[in-house]
Subunit: 365 residues, 2 copies
């Protein structure tokens, strides 16, 4: 017989109440993330511009909003959470996200500032962490472009931007989901062997840099730390029929993933960054076996369906017949990953910060 | 073929983004509420005090917290939302509420001020709507004691308390769930025929009063507007073996429910207020057929299980074998109610306030 008075709370990791609650809503009940991004901007403008041979900037607001609505209508019910932008998706399509599915909101503008080819990130003017909290979302996603080898000025800019978002997320008790993307500097070929060879170390260095606790990151959204197309086992054209120079063996890729998992002081999920469905499924399985807690992906799931634009019914049908089963298969793969609660930061036991008889009075005071 | 550019948003009711999102999380996907309250205080103190023949004030903090943990552990996964108090439940047991289940938080202190027998409500000192929002909950529940026939001073006090909560809930975009309970004044017998006879009109008058839009109520939590034990069809002792004077016929009770539904300018759910499981099931079915959108109930579901205190394992077992199937049966009954989205306030089509290309910038500014 268990008696009430023996039920004291053991010593364990703690989180603010709001952050804990939001994490639980973003993940599935097993602690894995199966999140769909529909916050893309330039890639969607480009896909829609193919209809009528237009320039991306000539695609109309209503067209983008309508396409995002179709993506959410079909895919949101099978995601553990969705990532919305606040311009086309959030204001029009919240009703398409079932109440049990989490909502993340994008904070960064898709237009970054270029300084000698180095990318500097900014928030969408007029959008904020406070507004994201008020709107009922469960987290803030920020994409920060990063290269370990940029100028001090660019690095300071990115650091200040990320640290400020982290501070505001802690204040509002919203999980801070930081997406890191490396990028080519002028003169580099992102499809070349040198770029592929340098990628693992760049991704690792990014995570080590932003893993410092003063940035306040709660969940990393990371790119696969290698180009699987350039791994020996796939370099003969496994994914796209193009033969490439092999720059590493799959075991080296696995070693990079293990290093990445070791470097991340918080749980992490994999992003798809425009790779195709087959490649992303391989990426995800390898990442989850190395300790990722699932995925936050978009284009790998739904981009092909946009080929049917402007026929929204045809897009809907392709999403239902192709993207949805694929999403379900990714969610099954994600079950091979580590539940976020089992990350060494939490170790399976999580209390609310300050839990006790006077929590309600001292909380946030 | 549906084209993107034809997808303009038709004219429809609108809600703030955060309020809409929270409503969707509190309800099930069909728009009905099946919510479990574990925020009770005096009734739980009383139940636990029976062990050892103690006074309710001698029950320890840890005992109450542990019992609420067991209630949530077993029942939360089968509720569309749970109602937590911020003292015993919220700080210790958030991890027992699955992420897809909504969370409401109680704002009012269980100690009310008595002025010539009239009850005046207050917030728990140190707890607030802002803290409820920060903690990741989806709504604020306030119980306001009410009688249409109290003094102006008491009425003004209650009005000011409720209006202030409504104002703060709008500011934070949290649904305001107002619970109204009538109560006996000195010299009245709450178990007598006169009290039962007067109840329907009192409940109706309460809803009409607080339905005024300046109070900002989003969802009413209402008592059954009659004593079913005193209805002709049940007065011979159907629920408790005690024969009573019949004060109305069931058709009159149905008429009161129809008036109540007509009087409520927002969706409403039924509370259980300590009636037994059989009576509450009748109450709920009648209420849902009259237009209620489900229930927010506690004791009717789990109170009997506390008889096994202090054996928490025995409580757990009774909750699993009796309370859980009963909760599931209530949720099935609630499907006969009106989805909150179909209430005349919304009429099935709900947009976000200010939806459009500049929503993100103008929102909350």
């Amino acid at each position: 017989m268990t008696e009430a008075t023996s039920a004291t709370i053991p010593s364990m990791a703690s989180m603010p109440a709001g952050t804990l609650r939001a994490f639980m809503t973003l993940a599935d009940d097993s602690g894995r993330f199966g999140m769909i991004a529909v916050d893309q901007r330039p890639p969607i403008f480009a896909a829609l511009a193919r209809h009528g041979n237009r320039r991306p900037e000539d695609v109309e607001y209503e067209e983008v909003a309508a396409v995002k609505g179709v993506l959410l209508e079909v895919l949101a019910p099978d995601a553990s959470a969705v990532l919305l932008d606040p311009i086309w998706a959030h204001p029009h399509h919240l009703r398409k996200v079932p109440g049990h599915v989490g909502v993340l909101s994008t904070l960064e503008d898709h237009d970054f500032t270029l300084a000698d080819g180095e990318r500097r990130s900014h928030a969408i003017p007029g959008w904020s962490v406070a507004k994201i909290k008020r709107s009922g979302a469960q987290g803030v996603k920020v994409l920060a472009w990063y290269r370990p080898d940029v100028s001090t000025a660019t690095r300071d800019h990115q650091d200040a931007f990320v640290a400020e978002v982290g501070r505001e997320c802690r204040e509002h008790e919203l999980p801070f989901v930081l997406e890191l993307l490396t990028y080519p500097l002028p003169g580099e070929d992102p499809n070349g062997s040198d770029y592929a060879r340098a990628k693992p170390q760049r991704v690792l260095d990014s995570v080590r840099h932003f893993g410092d606790s003063h940035f306040g990151v709660d969940l990393f959204k990371l790119e696969f730390p290698a180009e699987l197309k350039a791994a020996e086992e796939f370099a003969a054209g496994a994914f796209d029929g193009r033969c490439r120079e092999a720059v590493y063996a799959l075991d080296e890729v696995r070693a990079s993933l293990a290093e990445l998992d070791e470097a991340s002081p918080v749980p992490w999920v994999l992003l798809s960054a425009g790779v195709g469905p087959h490649e992303f499924a391989f990426n995800l399985e390898l990442a989850c076996l190395a300790g990722a807690s699932g995925f936050l992906a978009g284009r790998a799931v739904w981009y092909d369906a946009l080929e049917a634009y402007p026929d929204l019914d045809a897009i809907r049908e392709r999403l239902r017949s192709v993207s949805l089963p694929y999403l379900r298969s990714l969610r099954a793969l994600a079950q091979r990953g580590r539940p976020w609660t089992a990350h060494r930061r939490y170790e399976g036991a999580i209390a609310i910060e300050g839990a006790g008889p006077s929590w309600y009075a001292e909380y946030g005071a």
